[in-house]
Symmetry: C3
Subunit: 485 residues, 3 copies
């Protein structure tokens, strides 16, 4: 093996010095790349050129920690503000992330003399981005997407109904729900794999590869920064593009992408967007962008043309949200905690409302907090719209949500009659034909209408899609089934 | 209140002169901004910076009427050609639109000494764009979208069927149908609202905000220019983008967007479009654009590379259309008038055909006019396609429309048997289960196939979507229901 | 007629010399345009300016054969490597294609002294692109798309079921299936048509216009290069855009476009793509592009940043594909021949598997060839991903395909019970209500899940679309129908 590896290394050195001829761009920044990252790059620029080229164009590759620390606060893209242990004269290379905290990573393995791990986690990123990680993990429901699904017994039945014939195969695997919610990545021994050079012993990872945002990682941390900050360019422009959110926030259950794409905001973004300005920090309303997208409304630091802050950056994502549209089963006030598996309704079921729609207030944010969050969103809207327009828009949203909730209540009423009459069995409330119809009413149709009411101004999911038409059809079937002798 | 307002005004002055430091771009054009618009801007550049920045980049902000009047006719973007009352040395600022015709606007209110209105209307725009407004209001069915829906008793039932459980709430509101068709905006007294500075008394508007193109406005005018000429940049490039049309012309009822996106034309537009050339007036085929989109075929002034006119600009939108695809219930020849609520079929029902498909010829354009319109479209097509290809394409379209109309006739035949047998009640022809199926046959499926036949060359709505497959399924169900004892 | 034509020609000359004023760009290259093409252009730059302008910006218009032959092999965009009969000092103009091989074209007609044909075919293109044409015709199933559909008696029923009420009209026409599969273009006499100048006698073409990739042409050749290499710019950038593939590879039957658009790769392409780099030959991974699309994975010549070949260019499109996702009825190993109409299963039915899923191995590629193809795809993936990740991704794909095939087997089992019990008649296995449901299970749902598993990592077709949910619903109905007495 060693005899084989030696010539390979010679080939690598040959390639670096002769074929590549020490490309100047690489050489110039080399002095600020740590020695261990340089060693990584010596092979990986040849074997994974896509990763190398992506990284080379990233800020990680071009700005040292020292330089980053000297930026004015508002222009800063990270939250490290005191010197901690580490070498600040270097850029962030391979080793800075993939060899961090080796002792806490159960996926650490020996790789050419280094203790490396493949799965980089929020705990690793928090070395330089502590505030972002804290906001994400404590405030963002998405960081808890795995647990919010798996630690909720009520939803286990729903997973079963959605998986159908593939139930057993997919139940705990990377696919289906876990593509977005994230998997639990675990290590079960090691395996030898073929590589471009020589065979290699690596940890055998279960639930990998997976890009779900609520991934449970081999170091015990939760969440996945690269779900949005796509590796290895980690471009803020990409994170700010609605396409990045699209991967999960689309489709019949939560068609945020579709609604945005069809809304006036989305249509204008497609018509007017200047890609270069997606990089600006802070992000100037009217100067860097003139049309809001997901990042503008829910996450980014927004300033006015004079530099005054309109909205602070947040990785919690619900700082400007007072109501939760994605209703299970009803739209309701936002929960207090990002871990929603702790919520119980008055019947003890892990839902934020009863089947009649009565909210579990003690798990939901109080009026005062709702006011604060609504105010933050209003301030943003008023950057481009009059106070009067924003006020009426918000009023309409309320009316729409009430109407939709009431329609869901009516349809649930039919379902309850069906259960009472023994025409279906609510032991598993999701697995029978009529139950599936009921699930579609709130999961596919009512949710779509809520998103459309909030982000598009038209609860019929931009009329053409005829959500109310479909809802009405389903309602008639359930009503007939409920009333039949 | 005054005590509170005074310091606020001082803050505003302070902001303008100290924080902003009189940005040079603003100063340079200041001399040509009217005094009253300057006063608007002094606050609104701070309180609605998005609007201000948008406007600042618009032609309205950079070209005075005088300069615009001196352009050669073909390059002109407006139709004012004689000096009327007004100040021609100024650009078009806030006050030029929002204080125009105050006496005719029931939504006029006193705002810092000015009589302003929020809802700018085609009547306001027509001060500078009289020809565009005239074409739009007299020839364009979309200007009449509110009345064509509401003054047609037959369609009232259809609105009910589409609104379903939300019927009463939405019937006369901004959502559902009215998002595209437009609302009737009315004033019911005044209300005090919170603003970024101090509370303000404003007219209480019903049916607002609304961006529907057929809006009925508080000055009695109909239509909404900003549905396409999005405020406050009023960019011709945006108006020319298919995304602008998409907001309403998408979805199962009239999937023009989907068909275009999937057509060769649409695919090429995505692959080759040069955004800079979307601004050109006149629009040179082969030079400014090489792929047609909605605006090219239906609205814009198109010239050949030598400057000769291929197609005139029209805001009527049906100058090059001889047949109406969006059939209720059948595809038929275009109506004579944009107000279609006056049409009656031979049974006195406000439809352009009978249920058997017989057209109401006296309300539809004659052969001579059809020939003229078809010729105009052909001239456009022949800019890039041979006479032979265009001829056969048009022939195929005719054949496809005949086939689709015949299929609808067959399916309607089943529905009539169902009504005759008392299996459904045609008092309201849209509210029962089998009726809904019938509506879907022509409203969702046949319409989709017609658009696909016309704009995509494939009536199966680009085959993958399997419109004929779905149509066949529905037909079988209706046929079975009709024949059952 | 002649009296009429003469002044027209004078007008043309007048236009060329006076109105156009001999535009310099045109003049400069004129010396290298063949005399006959110059004659074509003298009229067509006026009468079809869109075609002329497109062509003028193409490589065909700007590079002579001589110049092209001098390029290094890897940078070459054509495969002619020896001088054949022809004039190498010219660019490729109108006449070079539209007058080639006149004797083999049944659509040849006399046009101002030249024997021209409208339908340019792979046989014509192969004068300069012989290798591309050979790969396409011998290895690419798409070149055989017409025959693979029409020479397969089993599929004739399926066409009928998909055409529904339009069956007789569309069966042999350009629309429906043939929009993508291609028509058989034939000549039936001649006809006189109106043109922008004077009437003209042209061949009467049946099945035209048509852009299907498997078109059967009037010279007897099969295939249609311009399906992807869109005329008349023939831009490699356009051919490489996923939108080009979208026209056919979308929708419920084979939603490659949808899956790609929603995948991490697709989302990143939208966020990061640099249009200028779509032109590069060879295409450098990490330099010219950082995100794969259809062309990268299935067709293009890909090199690493140092110029070493990662993947060879292929017009066969399955060189890197070992498994066929688009299952009829099951996913299976790729066929040996591009002409799939020769395949028979063990029951003699022209399907690659039995209804139970047993593959017809002698028509499918052996393990050794599967290994070679899989290796080629792996090499590409490993440009950006670790060996470990790629290995596990491929393993997951296998597991997903097995799960999906098994689910289809279960649902087919129900269908067979239904047939055995006489509840449906399998003489035509596609035309009844329950049969349609069964077809939707594998044609719409299983196929979608396979594509999503392969290209998106999520077999639920990016979860939101709930393919397994729908599959489960259909399965329950079939199961109930099968078990009912």
């Amino acid at each position: 093996m060693v005899a084989y590896r030696l010539p390979l290394m010679l080939i690598i050195i040959f390639c670096n010095f002769v074929v590549f001829g020490l490309p100047s761009a690489f050489c110039q920044s080399k002095k600020s790349i740590s020695e261990k990252s340089q060693e990584c790059l010596s092979c990986h620029r040849l074997f994974t050129p896509g990763i190398y080229q992506d990284w080379r164009q990233s800020r990680h590759a071009t700005v040292t920690l020292q330089e980053a620390l000297q930026r004015p606060a508002k222009e800063s893209r990270f939250s490290l503000n005191v010197y901690k242990q580490g070498s600040y004269q270097f850029v962030v290379g391979c080793a800075e992330c993939h060899t961090r905290n080796p002792q806490s990573h159960s996926d650490t393995f020996e790789h050419h003399g280094y203790d490396v791990h493949v799965v980089v986690t929020p705990a690793d990123c928090s070395h330089c981005h502590p505030k972002e990680k804290d906001q994400f993990v404590t405030q963002n429901k998405m960081a808890h997407a795995y647990g919010n699904l798996h630690h909720n017994p009520y939803y286990q039945n729903l997973i079963g109904a959605f998986s159908g014939p593939a139930k057993s195969e997919y139940h705990e695997q990377i696919d289906n729900c876990h593509g977005c919610h994230g998997t639990k990545v675990s290590v079960s021994g090691t395996e030898e794999i073929e590589t471009a050079t020589d065979p290699m012993i690596v940890p055998k990872l279960k639930g990998w590869p997976n890009m779900g945002i609520g991934r449970v990682n081999p170091d015990g941390s939760i969440g996945n920064c690269s779900a949005c900050h796509v590796r290895h360019r980690f471009s803020i422009a990409v994170a700010r593009r609605p396409e990045t959110c699209r991967r999960c926030h689309q489709g019949s259950k939560s068609p945020a992408w579709e609604v945005y794409s069809e809304s006036k905001h989305g249509l204008l973004q497609d018509s007017t967007q200047n890609p270069e300005h997606l990089e600006a920090v802070p992000w100037k309303l009217g100067v860097d962008f003139s049309v809001p997208n997901c990042a503008v409304c829910h996450a980014a630091l927004i300033v006015d043309p004079a530099g005054a802050v309109i909205a602070e950056r947040t990785h919690g994502f619900s700082e400007r949200l007072w109501v939760r549209l994605f209703g299970l089963i009803y739209s309701h006030v936002q929960p207090v905690k990002a871990d929603t598996s702790i919520i119980r309704n008055k019947r003890g079921i892990p839902l934020p409302t009863t089947l009649q729609g009565e909210p579990s207030n003690r798990f939901l944010i109080p009026d005062t907090e709702q006011y604060v969050r609504k105010k933050k969103m209003k301030d943003l809207c008023q950057g481009c719209h009059s106070s009067q327009l924003v006020r009426q828009y918000f009023n309409h949203l309320n009316e729409n949500l009430d109407t939709i909730n009431k329609a869901v209540e009516n349809t649930t009423e039919q379902m309850k009659k069906i259960w009472s009459a023994g025409k279906a069995n609510d032991a598993d409330p999701f697995d029978e034909r009529l139950e599936a119809l009921w699930v579609e009413q709130w999961m596919f149709l009512a949710n779509s209408m809520r998103y459309a009411a909030a982000m598009g101004g038209m609860p019929d999911y931009i009329l053409g899609h005829s959500r109310w038409w479909e809802f009405n059809k389903g309602f008639q079937v359930l009503k007939k089934a409920a009333s039949q002798k």
